[in-house]
Symmetry: C2
Subunit: 201 residues, 2 copies
C-alpha cells in the first residue's frame, strides 16, 4: 500500500540511501524527505558534490588512497618519511591515523582484509603491489596497522610471511587498554594483552 503512495523515483532514492553505512530503511526515508524538502540547501549541493566525486576522485595507483590527483597528496608529500610504510585496511583507517597525527609516514591501503568466508582472497586485495613496493629498497619498516579482528590479524600474518624474505622490519600496533577506557568494560583478550605487554614505570 505504501509502495503505491511513494512513487518509484522517491522509492529508488530511499533504497539507494539505505545502502549507505549508518542508514537503515527508516532513516533512509527520513534522509530522502530531508533532501526533497531542502532542495536548494542540500539536494542540489549534494548531487553536485557527488558528480564532482564521480568525475574527479581517483584511487592512487601508488598507495590505494583516494584523491583528485594521482599520485595522491600523501604520496606527493616529500616531507614524509619514505622509509616507513603504514599498511591499513581501508582509506578511513588512513584518515583516522592522520587525525591522530603521530607519524609522518607513507601509507598502503589494502582495500579490505582476507576473508575466505566472504570469498576474499589475497589476490582480491592490494597486497602484491605492497610486496613489490617493499622490494624497491627505500622502505626500512612496514607498520601493519590492521584492525585487531580475526580477519585483520590473519591478513597481517599473511603479509608478514610474504615479507619474511625482504630486508624490512615488520611491526604491528600495540594491543592494550584504550586511553580513557575502563577495565571493567574491556574483554579478557584486551586485558590479557595489556598485562602481557605491561611496561615498567
Amino acid at each position: 500500500m505504501a509502495k503505491q503512495i511513494i512513487g518509484p523515483e522517491i522509492e529508488r532514492l530511499v533504497q539507494l540511501l539505505a545502502k549507505l553505512p549508518g542508514l537503515g530503511p527508516r532513516s533512509a526515508r527520513k534522509a530522502a524527505l530531508a533532501l526533497i524538502k531542502k532542495r536548494e540547501d542540500l539536494l542540489l549541493p549534494l548531487a553536485d558534490a557527488m558528480t564532482t566525486a564521480i568525475e574527479r576522485i581517483v584511487v592512487c595507483p601508488e598507495c590505494g588512497n583516494v584523491d583528485t590527483m594521482a599520485p595522491c597528496a600523501v604520496c606527493r608529500d616529500d616531507s614524509r618519511d619514505g622509509a616507513v610504510l603504514v599498511v591499513v585496511e581501508e582509506v578511513g583507517d588512513l584518515w583516522a591515523l592522520e587525525r591522530a597525527g603521530v607519524l609522518k609516514a607513507r601509507y598502503h591501503v589494502l582495500g579490505g582484509h582476507i576473508s575466505p568466508l566472504d570469498g576474499i582472497g589475497p589476490e582480491a586485495l592490494n597486497i602484491a603491489p605492497l610486496i613489490e613496493r617493499c622490494g624497491a629498497g627505500s622502505i626500512k619498516e612496514v607498520i601493519l596497522a590492521l584492525n585487531a579482528t580475526v580477519e585483520g590479524q590473519s591478513t597481517a600474518h599473511y603479509i608478514t610471511e610474504l615479507l619474511g624474505t625482504r630486508d624490512v622490519k615488520v611491526t604491528r600496533l600495540a594491543h592494550g587498554v584504550p586511553i580513557g577506557g575502563e577495565l571493567d568494560y574491556l574483554d579478557e583478550g584486551t586485558l590479557a594483552a595489556a598485562i602481557k605487554s605491561r611496561k615498567q614505570i
Copy 2:
C-alpha cells in the same frame, strides 16, 4: 592535519552527507568512503536518483505531498474518501499513516508545526490553503494527525480555532498506551491519558 589529507572535494561530500538526518560527522565519513569505493553500485546510481529527484519531484499544490506529478498520486486516487481530510506535519507522517493502512482518505501536509521559538508562525506553514480547502463544502471531517508534542498540539489547537466557523467535524488521534508498550516504560502523561480515555470491555 587531516584536512590536508582529505581533499576539498571529498571533504565537501562528507560535510553535505553529515547534514542528512541520521548521519553524524563520523558516519558521514564512512558513507563518503562507501560511495567512493562502490562507485558503480552506489555512487553512480545514487547521483542519478538524485538528479531524477531534482528534475522530477514536485510538491503537490493540492495537499503538500511530494510526487513526480501534480496533483500527486493520493490526490488523483478517486477511490479515496474525499469527505475525510487527514492533516499531518510532514510527508513522512503521511507515509507512516499509509503504511498503517487504516484509512483511505485524503491528506494535507502542513510542512511542520508552529514554533514561535524557531520563528515559525502559522503563515510559514501550509495552513491557509487548508482552511480554504475545508470551505469548499466537500470535506466533512478533518482528522488532525499531528505529533503529540507541545508544538504539534498547539498547532492542532490553532487549526481547530480557525475551523470553528466552518461546518466540519474536527477530530484528533487518540492518546494511550502504544500497542506492544509496557506500562513501566511509559511517561505519566501517556498513562494519565490512557486512564482518562479508558474503554469498557
